[in-house]
Symmetry: none
Subunit: 218 residues, 4 copies
DNA sequence: GATGAATGAGGATTCATTCAT
DNA sequence: CATGAATGAATCCTCATTCAT
């Protein structure tokens, strides 16, 4: 009787639920193997269903990947934005935002890998979506950066080379630190964020303020 | 007879030359398509030879990729090390090293992409080589960083979390800025380097010296 | 309550009605796509029901196709026979029969295509039914032809090569003209019939009477 | 030694030869099963090679089918045209042309089936090619018909409804008689042609001359 | 040294068909 | 009566890799 119940837990689920399960499985497999080495069969098996379901719900391997990207991307951007919104001044906002970011990655390692580390691997239609999502993340950071130092019109500054430069560097660094974090399990996301802030906060302010470093004669 | 000669311009080249031609072609294709979407046929055609030659010289697609990685990796590490070696103090060394790095990428975009952006894409044997090469680059930077601020034993500090953290962040930022540079063709590698130094030099020194940033109460 | 009623307009129809609706939809789809390219989903959707109903009523795709073939075949044979029966002499019978045929096709283009143009496409069980139906049509024509010129026993002549030859040629021509008619929407079925009769009536009589054409020496 | 030779007969053949062998096999299989039921594996096996060869040479199942259609279509149109060209007057030309046609079909049954009987079965790109080839055949007949009775400008008459009607009917009848011929192996192509000419020659002339049959009052 | 010919193996995708509700 | 959920079984196609010349 009880096990009839547990059977029911896995069988004949409504579409929406199954879709999430499939995405969960897909993220795992895409993350472990990379897009091309990931085999749809394995995803299906891991999700506890048969291949045709995947195609029924997502249309194609690309479609499935896109769905993964999208879900994780939105999750991240939201948690980033929510965190930043809780603070008023630029410094706090960046701190909160980065902290949320590292926290997210710490808990969604697979998702992050899928989301961010496979740009060159996919081609065609999906590449565009990947670009879009990556851009979203970058834009969130950029807007934080811009607003942080803008005494004047924020939106105008978004296009500034200075801003995009800083944002890009920041995102790149954060991404790379994702691996560092994985190799140093003892460090909490907040500690990592603190390290990063220590390293860039002063310079960032200066850079955005126009104070430039000049090469030594050595 | 005469046309036999002109044929010879392309045919029957010594092994070493052919190998380089093939690697050149391979880097182009791997870079444009990514490892899995790259098709050996296309590489062979681009190199102006037939597929079996590729296998004769490199054994397998993986072997060919490894060769690409290795050649570009060595090129980069050397140019980085050479540049750094010309300076004495830490600041200058980093400046010279990064400058060499951005210069290299500016001229070897394809090579850099192949070298650094495909970690998740390849599996098995090659993955190890990729890791090794990426590590090499990281180590070069790390050693620079470490030596830069070490008043004491350099090699000891290499294992320090501080050092690896800074190195990682730096490499990540530099990598990401590679794209920024591609989108801002007006900026010379030196200008990019200067921007980056402005952003991180102060903070980096402080961070490595143990001065930590602390979160505001906001 | 009221809307339960309006729902009932489409729902819970008696079996016989539903079957006809499904066959209608099936004929459309089979005709547009051909047997293999026709997808059961599309048929079900067009019929406004769900796939399982199709299987409940017809057992299989083949079964559904057979039902289509059968319905249209009977429709045609009957209308052909009825028309022919209204005339007494051979000439009139053929005229009436052909006229009925072209009239039928003009109004049931889809049905005719399904019925007659997919012999090679289906395999196995269905092929037999298709053959049977096509034979039925041929036989009706043949019997007309035979009776038309038979001074003696009609049924005996049915097996004659002359009769089957003429019947076959006639059916083939008529089938092909089906397309011609579709491309010349101005022509009424009766006009088409008249053209055809002009072309074959004299020769047919002669041929059946044993008068043969002989090749010129040119 | 000798059997090394016979091995060589089947192995490592030059592209052009293999292509023809594959087309031969494909025609057989397409003819027996129909386009959709035909499986590329079976074709490859029958041709004595592996599937990838088929794709290397023809690109896709559709491409292979197109190649079949094209080869057989050209064969037929040429043999038809050549035959017709040997005669001067319309009657002889038609006789020779039809005779060549039935001769062709008698010897290339499979080819004919592939060429002409699968219009509805294939979709997309190929459908166009099939249409083109079928049109070619029809055009050849139509041009014969037109020239045969045209006292004035031939090309003008090709568009005439009368001509296209007669040509269509003729092609349709001939196609259908293809089956009749297969069921009456005793009859030579020339005998079949004679039967057909007996049936249509007089009426055709009349029809094209404008003499129309009128329905009896019965 | 060089290549045209050939293939083993595997992956994405589709579809007729059936449960369980 | 009616259907959303689910799948077994093919089929097309591609690609790294290897002979035989």
């Amino acid at each position: 009787m009880a096990d009839k119940m547990s059977d029911k837990t896995r069988r004949r689920l409504p579409r929406h639920v199954r879709e999430q399960q499939i995405i969960d499985a897909a993220i795992q497999v895409f993350s472990k193997r990379g897009y091309h080495l990931a085999v749809v069969d394995e995803i299906a098996e891991l999700a506890g269903i048969s291949k045709p379901m995947v195609y029924l719900y997502f249309g194609s391997k690309e479609g499935l990947f896109t769905a993964c990207i999208r879900r994780e991307g939105e999750l991240l951007t939201e948690s980033f934005a929510n965190a930043a919104r809780t603070a008023r001044d630029a410094e706090s906002q960046l701190w909160r935002g980065l902290s949320a970011f590292f926290g997210f990655v710490a808990e969604h390692r697979d998702g992050w890998v899928v989301l961010y580390r496979q740009a060159s691997e996919v081609g065609g239609e999906v590449a565009a979506e990947v670009q879009r999502q990556r851009g979203e993340v970058g834009a969130a950071v950029a807007s934080l950066v811009a607003s942080g130092i803008a005494r004047t019109d924020t939106s105008a500054r978004l296009a500034d080379p200075e801003v995009s430069f800083v944002a890009m560097a920041l995102v790149g660094a954060a991404d790379a630190l994702t691996d560092w974090m994985a190799e140093h399990p003892g460090e909490s996301p907040d500690q990592v964020t603190q390290r990063l802030m220590s390293m860039i906060w002063v310079g960032m302010r200066n850079a955005l303020a126009g104070e430039t470093w000049t090469p030594p004669r050595g």
